[in-house]
């Protein structure tokens, strides 16, 4: 492997990694606060991608306008999902999985019926490449990394510095104790869901512009997203960042050496081993 190829692989891996992180922090927030594994999170990501696609193609928005709009629209959908689908099943593993699976099939079928099964490609964020001493790095991947870093930092600050963020931490540590302190658990759940959905929409839009959109893009994404949060430890945001970057790098560096299927086998193999050795993940605790 030449140095140039290695640099590109690492960049591709980091770009994929930050997209995984954006997807996974929502999953981990919803798990931490509502104790629900949100299997339909991949479909939220898919809807985000389509939302941006239609905003750009039909309404003539630029990518930078479409990105926050799509996050807003899909975030609002999060309120509906929390109130009507997940609130009744908070903390109940089996029924919540079934509801999430129902949503998964519902949203995917809606996308198939509404948007068709053919893949759609968006115009790239910024076409072209950056050449530094013989190494070419594509701009869209650099930007995906940048967006990922900015948003995750913002989320981190939100959680650390604001009252609502601290309330989220309290609920994730002990729901009953938090509600005894006067924290409105339902409201905090809704906030977690909205933030999670908005970030997933942005992740989907970024991935959709780097590759393309398809109604089935959520299914493989959700397995990756779950892998990331399990690797990092359920409910932990630093864990999601570490997990996302590790998996992203495996996905970036292994394919040129072996194949993309092998990259996934290696990635999941690593997680299985981590889970067996540290059942709570890298950053998990109990």
């Amino acid at each position: 492997m030449t140095l140039a190829l290695l640099a590109q692989s690492i960049l591709n891996g980091l770009a994929a990694g930050w997209v995984y992180v954006l997807l996974a922090v929502g999953l981990t927030l919803v798990f931490g606060i509502m104790n629900i594994v949100q299997f339909a999170h991949g479909e939220i990501y898919m809807l985000g991608a389509y939302c941006s696609y239609f905003l750009i193609k039909l309404y003539g928005f630029s990518f930078w306008e479409a990105l926050p709009l799509s996050a807003l629209l899909v975030g609002l959908l999060g309120i509906v999902l929390e109130r009507f689908f997940f609130r009744p099943f908070r903390g109940r593993f089996e029924p919540s999985i079934i509801v999430a699976v129902g949503l998964m099939v519902l949203l995917q079928t809606t996308a198939v019926v509404g948007f068709g099964t053919s893949t759609k490609s968006m115009p790239g964020i910024i076409p072209g490449v950056l050449s530094v001493s013989g190494i070419t790095l594509s701009w869209d991947r650099l930007l995906a990394i940048l967006v990922g870093i900015v948003l995750v930092t913002a989320l981190f600050l939100l959680i650390q510095k604001t009252k609502i963020g601290q309330a989220m931490v309290a609920v994730s540590q002990d729901t009953d104790a938090a509600s005894l302190q006067g924290i409105d658990v339902n409201r905090i759940s809704a906030v977690a869901m909205v933030v999670g959905c908005a970030l997933a929409a942005i992740a989907g839009s970024l991935m959709g512009s780097i590759f393309s959109t398809s109604p089935f893009m959520g299914t493989s994404a959700i397995t990756k997203g779950i892998a990331v949060i399990i690797l990092g430890g359920l409910g932990s945001i630093p864990g999601a960042v570490a997990g996302g970057l590790i998996l992203g790098l495996i996905d970036g560096v292994v394919p040129p050496l072996l194949s993309s299927t092998m990259a996934s086998i290696v990635g999941f193999g690593v997680i299985i081993i981590v889970l067996l050795l540290r059942p709570r993940g890298l950053f998990g605790h109990e």
Binding site: V37, P88, P95, I98, G102, T261, I265, L276, R280
Partner: protein, 330 residues
């Protein structure tokens, strides 16, 4: 229980089994039989998943273990020319052996983490099949799998697997044997021990139950039947692609089990049957068809949280309540 009531149950079971055996006499046409055959496969998958779930662990690797059985049986018959009956059993045994191999480390991981661990295990199995192209045909699939060998009992029987009818009888017998076996486990001392483990590992452990062994046992038995279902599927469908054993398939088996009702043995059978049959009835809706599945799923999970098996109790309670109110008014 009166003597009459005691006889009703065996009598109704006998009647049901006779009815199931006579179906091909009045159901003509390949498609309805195909649907019933798929119902049979799903019943075996769901009931065996329930055996694992009685220890409080949900497996999302069931489609993966089905794939192991399917590919093992198909490949042994195609590449080594072993007879069907041998490969059919080896399919189940292969799945059980792999389950045993990973079982002890796996069962130490609990609840959500176990579910996720098995999700990744199932994914790794599917990806390995995709990657091992020389052996499995990769994503383009394993084609030309032979049907089961002729069943010949000289002068008496000569069954060739050339239409849906023999397959229907095959799966019917297979379902009955599997259910009998799984039911025996469920209603035995072992079954009660498994249930005790579900209610609390530590309590079970403290009364001297070797929780780990029992969990591994349930896991291996469950995976064995997933493998057997896979063996049958391979020689019935006769084309295997890794996509038939994806995450969604694994999740669907869990859905069948939960919407059927976890509490009772019949829940898995009911869930698998109804959730396979009803969407098929609406096949004409084409791409809109999954909405039927979703609608059914939401109705059950919101209105029958204990699953379909709780419907009679619910209805009875409702009637009693109404009668109570009307009596109160008069």
């Amino acid at each position: 229980m009166s003597k009459g009531a005691r006889l009703v149950k065996p009598a109704s079971y006998t009647a049901l089994i006779l009815l199931l055996f006579s179906i091909p006499l009045f159901v003509k046409g390949a498609y309805p039989l195909h649907v019933l055959i798929m119902v049979g496969i799903n019943i075996i998958l769901t009931s065996s998943l329930r055996t694992i779930a009685t220890t409080g662990q949900i497996s999302l690797a069931h489609a993966g273990f089905m794939a192991i059985g399917a590919y093992a049986s198909a490949l042994l018959m195609m590449k080594l020319g072993l007879p069907f009956w041998a490969t059919f059993l080896i399919g189940g045994i292969a799945a059980a052996l792999i389950a045993l191999l990973v079982g002890y480390p796996f069962v130490r991981v609990r609840r959500v983490y176990f579910a996720m661990l098995t999700l990744f295990m199932g994914t790794v199995i599917r990806l390995t099949i995709m990657e091992w192209r020389d052996l499995t045909g990769g994503t383009s699939g394993l084609l030309g799998i032979p049907p089961p060998n002729l069943i010949v009992i000289p002068g008496l029987l000569n069954i060739a697997f050339d239409s849906k009818v023999p397959y229907y009888y095959f799966i019917l017998v297979l379902v009955l044997i599997s259910l009998l076996f799984l039911y025996r486990i469920d209603s035995s001392r072992v079954g009660r021990t498994l249930l005790a483990i579900q209610q609390g590992d530590f309590v079970a452990e403290s009364v001297g139950i070797n929780v780990t062994n029992f969990k591994v046992f349930a896991w291996c038995v469950g995976c064995f039947f997933a493998g057997i279902a896979g063996s049958f599927y391979a020689h019935y469908i006769r084309v295997l692609t890794p996509d038939s054993f994806g995450v969604m398939q694994a999740i669907y088996i869990v859905v069948y089990m939960v919407v059927g009702g976890r509490r009772r043995f019949s829940g898995a059978i009911l869930g698998a049957s109804i959730f396979t049959l009803i969407p098929e009835v609406f096949r004409g809706l084409k791409e809109y068809q999954p909405f039927v599945f979703v609608g059914l799923l939401f109705i059950v999970i919101f209105f029958l949280p204990e699953g379909l098996v709780s419907l009679p109790e619910k209805v009875r309670a409702r009637i009693r309540k109404r009668r109570g109110i009307s009596l109160g008014q008069s």
